[in-house]
């Protein structure tokens, strides 16, 4: 199966990003494909490079980055939702005249069309939100 995953809540405040992570990991470990993971609404905050969670807690952002690297999966942060919430990559920061960028490794910013395309390309689309 080719799964498309939507993560629509931010890290830590809601369990959504964790549940999505465990589902995605289990799918990959069991031979399924991940068409894309699309981060929308506050889910864009999962892609921050600047989080420093307590040492004895899981590092959600790093977990996602590592999973993306290990299995070469596409983690997409919605540009519209990201702009509202202050998540910028290097290009966006330059374009918008901001003095910093904060996207974590393995995530890329792109348009909402990527969500629709994911729906078209996937066999199954699951939403993890609140």
């Amino acid at each position: 199966m080719k799964f498309g995953i939507v993560v629509s809540e931010g890290p830590y405040t809601h369990q959504a990003a964790d549940s999505a992570y465990h589902f995605t990991k289990a799918a990959l470990e069991n031979g399924h494909e991940i068409a894309r993971v699309f981060f929308y609404h506050d889910g864009v905050n999962v892609g921050t490079r600047l989080a420093v969670p307590p040492q004895d807690e899981r590092n959600l952002q790093q977990n996602w980055s590592a999973l993306a690297k290990e299995y070469d999966i596409d983690l997409v942060i919605c540009i519209a939702a990201a702009q509202r919430r202050g998540l910028l990559d290097e290009n966006e920061a330059k374009r918008q005249g901001k003095d910093a960028n904060n996207i974590a490794d393995g995530f890329r910013i792109s348009g909402l069309g990527q969500l629709i395309e994911m729906g078209i390309l996937s066999d199954r689309l699951l939403t993890f939100g609140d």
Binding site: S8, H41, G111, L112, I116
Partner: protein
């Protein structure tokens, strides 16, 4: 491109108290370009998104309710609104804004986009989709 998929956007939350209604609508607008078979479902508090007379001046947020009226031009013409959800909230069809589309197969006759369906019908509509997007 292969056959169009049936996309259902499920709206169950009220507008303004949270961003889900607005950001769901933003997906619908972008999604229109992909020429899929799009339907919108409004149930539970989602029915509040379609009420008339929204005036957001004093709370300082954008009133996005007029955007629903533009969706007909984007070929998004199926707005399924759940009857029981309306009734539970003391609403009727009269409380909803008028949303129409022009049917190109019927001499551009103006037709209502809002279709009020009961719970049983809504369950069937939800079951007959290829992709469900939840907000």
């Amino acid at each position: 491109m292969s056959e169009a998929k049936r996309f259902l956007y499920v709206n169950r939350k009220a507008p303004y108290g949270t961003i889900y209604a607005l950001e769901s609508l933003e997906v619908v607008l972008i999604g229109a370009a992909f020429e899929q078979d799009v339907s919108l479902a409004f149930l539970d508090d989602g029915v509040f998104q379609l009420t008339k007379g929204q005036d957001t001046k004093e709370i300082g947020v954008k009133n996005f309710s007029p955007t629903f009226r533009a969706l007909g031009d984007y070929d998004v013409t199926k707005f399924y609104v759940e009857k029981e959800s309306l009734e539970e909230r003391g609403l009727s069809a009269d409380d909803l804004q008028e949303i129409v589309y022009e049917d190109e197969d019927d001499d551009w006759a103006e037709k209502p986009s809002i279709r009020i369906v009961d719970r049983v019908e809504m369950a069937k509509i939800m079951a007959n989709q290829d992709v469900v997007l939840n907000f």
